[in-house]
């Protein structure tokens, strides 16, 4: 069994309009040393999926799953206190907004070490030594001085490096990064993502990386899962999926990436025309069909998951 094994995970949100099915039965698995990239348009349920793994969903949300096992332990069976012992310790998470993810009232050193000190029950000096070590590892110079600084004294890129170093403090098995670079400068985005890839390899982490950036995915993903309207519509080894996408939505996403030399300069960044269906209430058949060029009558029925011998699967009548 994999380190993280998710089977038919569902997240429902109570809204004034009715129940919103943000995540509709997604399944995936990740092992140490692997990087799984979750991709898909805004609102398709990527963040809800990751928050469900952390048990950090908003109050209005409820989570169900056939299996949600981590290191052989069923997360759904854990008491809140036991789950809290895993969080930040064996499962760590980095969020999208480095500018607001740190508490303005406390120093970097305090915020980096507090989780480590709680989970590992060590003293301040030892925790700070580790923090300095990791700050150096994520490429922050004069780490010792940084510990005494406050978040507002650091740039966005530095803060995200601090968040990454903090996430690594306890030596987690699984690291979840939800669009960790979206809020940063383009030049820094690439650096941070490269850093994450290297660290995942060096520390033998299982990395779940959520991103819009398919260029990044192509470089660092082991596996890719493409989400649409709360479902995984295609998944496979990164190389297979990029070489031969089987779902029209994945094909559309790949067509949107500008290719140097081939995309004419100044042409508009591609986007798939049409809008995502509402996630409130039941969805029947292929959720993508209102936007799909190949849609046909049998797309309105429930479509089985088709997977090949290499584990490359898709949910489409054409696949």
């Amino acid at each position: 069994m994999s380190l993280l094994d998710v089977e038919r995970l569902t997240v429902d949100l109570a809204t004034p309009q009715g129940t919103l099915h943000a995540v509709r039965g997604v399944s995936f698995a990740v092992d140490r040393g692997e990087t799984l990239c979750l991709v898909g348009e805004s609102g398709c349920g990527k963040s809800m999926t990751s928050l469900a793994l952390m048990d950090l969903l908003p109050k209005a949300a409820s989570r169900r799953a056939v299996r949600l096992s981590f290191g052989g332990v069923e997360l759904g069976d854990l008491s809140p206190a036991r789950m809290n012992d895993l969080r930040g310790n064996r499962i760590a998470m980095i969020f999208q907004e480095p500018m607001t993810a740190l508490n303005p009232a406390y120093t970097i050193g305090d915020q980096m070490t507090e989780g480590f000190r709680r989970h590992k029950r060590v003293g301040r000096a030892q925790a700070e030594a580790r923090a300095v070590d990791l700050l150096g590892r994520v490429g922050i110079a004069s780490a010792r001085e940084r510990l005494g600084q406050y978040p507002h004294q650091l740039s966005g890129g530095l803060r995200q490096r601090v968040m990454i170093a903090t996430a690594l403090m306890c030596g987690p098995d699984l690291l979840i990064a939800d669009e960790p670079t979206t809020a940063l400068d383009v030049t820094i985005q690439a650096q941070i993502l490269r850093l994450l890839g290297e660290l995942a390899e060096e520390f033998g982490l299982a990395l779940v990386l959520i991103t819009h950036d398919l260029g990044v995915v192509a470089r660092i993903a082991t596996r890719v899962a493409v989400m649409y309207a709360g479902e995984i519509v295609e998944t496979g080894a990164a190389a297979d999926l990029f070489a031969a996408p089987r779902h029209p939505y994945t094909q559309g996403l790949l067509d949107c990436i500008p290719v140097p030399g081939r995309t004419p300069r100044g042409s508009r960044l591609g986007a798939i025309p049409g809008v995502v269906p509402s996630l409130v209430g039941a969805l029947k058949g292929c959720a993508f069909r209102s936007r799909c060029r190949f849609a046909r009558p049998d797309c309105e029925t429930d479509i089985p998951w088709r997977v090949d011998a290499r584990g490359h699967g898709a949910r489409c009548v054409l696949a």
Partner: protein, 305 residues
């Protein structure tokens, strides 16, 4: 930080000066000092004599300048009614007012803090509705009405507490409750709103993601940020309590500054009224300043900026 503090101090003193000038002028418009000194029903010649003897016929600006110069040396003059030095009078009374303000503020915070935090943690539950009820009551009931109701129940019916005076701590209980409840609602609202915002913030989500204990998430991370504006409000409210307890002190005949202000106004005791107003405005302005500085010190962005 030091430059900031000095700049704010300068500004505060300017405000205090402006307030003293304004109150000086307003008091003079409100009544005739010479008449007050000479006594009700005095002959016109006598009043004129007093006016000339005390220099009250000179331009207002000159009189204000003279008053200010004396005041700055700590000389507030003589009370017309009590016939003692104004400074001594104020020294006698300020203690009771400070105790009352302190007790009311402590009480208000003791109620508002737990209820505000709990109602933010459990919105739309019974505890949230309880705090809302207290807030609405505290705001809707005029505070003299509430004070009288307390007197009826605890002093007249049950005879647990004295009706009026300021001799023992028991005399302060009902006045402190009346004033405390009156200033509780703004604290409760501020704490609740601040906690709801902080609990929904990204940094609290980060704290949760680190697996910190719920206590640490709520107290260390959320409350620390939610309470900064509460410090500011407490400073302002303390100033308000020092000056605004006139009604309550009068109802309970609590021998403080507020009661003194009331007496001096009814007896046209101008030097006393003027001195009390001056002291209250200086205290208020300095408190606001102190609050700003505490806030700046609490916020690392201002402290290290």
């Amino acid at each position: 930080m030091l430059a900031y503090a000095l700049k704010r101090l300068g500004l505060a003193l300017l405000v205090a000066l402006a307030v003293s000038a304004a109150s000086f002028v307003l008091l003079r418009i409100s009544g005739d000092v010479a008449l007050a000194i000479a006594g009700e029903g005095a002959r016109a010649e006598d009043v004129d004599l007093v006016r000339r003897t005390y220099g009250l016929d000179r331009p207002l600006i000159v009189q204000y300048g003279e008053w200010l110069a004396r005041t700055l040396t700590g000389d507030f003059g003589q009370s017309l009614y009590f016939k003692t030095s104004v400074a001594g009078l104020i020294g006698d009374k300020i203690g009771a007012t400070v105790i009352l303000a302190f007790a009311s503020l402590t009480l208000a915070l003791a109620v508002a803090l737990p209820l505000g935090v709990l109602s933010a943690l459990f919105p739309n539950t019974w505890i949230d509705r309880l705090s809302l009820t207290i807030a609405v009551l505290g705001q809707a009931l005029p505070n003299f009405f509430f004070a009288l109701a307390l007197v009826m129940v605890f002093s007249v019916k049950l005879r647990w507490l004295p009706v009026s005076g300021s001799d023992t701590w028991a005399h302060f209980v009902l006045p402190a409750i009346s004033l405390g409840l009156y200033i509780t609602p703004p604290f409760m609202r501020l704490i609740r709103a601040g906690m709801i915002e902080a609990l929904a913030s990204d940094y609290v989500r980060t704290a949760r993601a680190k697996g910190l204990s719920p206590l640490s998430v709520v107290v260390k991370h959320a409350m620390r940020n939610a309470l900064a504006p509460v410090v500011a409000l407490a400073g302002v409210q303390f100033g308000f309590l020092l000056g605004g307890s006139i009604v309550i002190e009068t109802i309970f005949a609590l021998d403080g500054l507020g009661y003194l202000a009331y007496e001096s106004i009814t007896h046209k005791d101008f030097p006393v009224t003027q001195a009390v107003l001056m002291i209250l405005s200086v205290v208020y302005v300095l408190l606001t300043l102190a609050t700003d500085l505490v806030n700046a010190w609490l916020d690392p962005r201002l402290r290290t900026g």
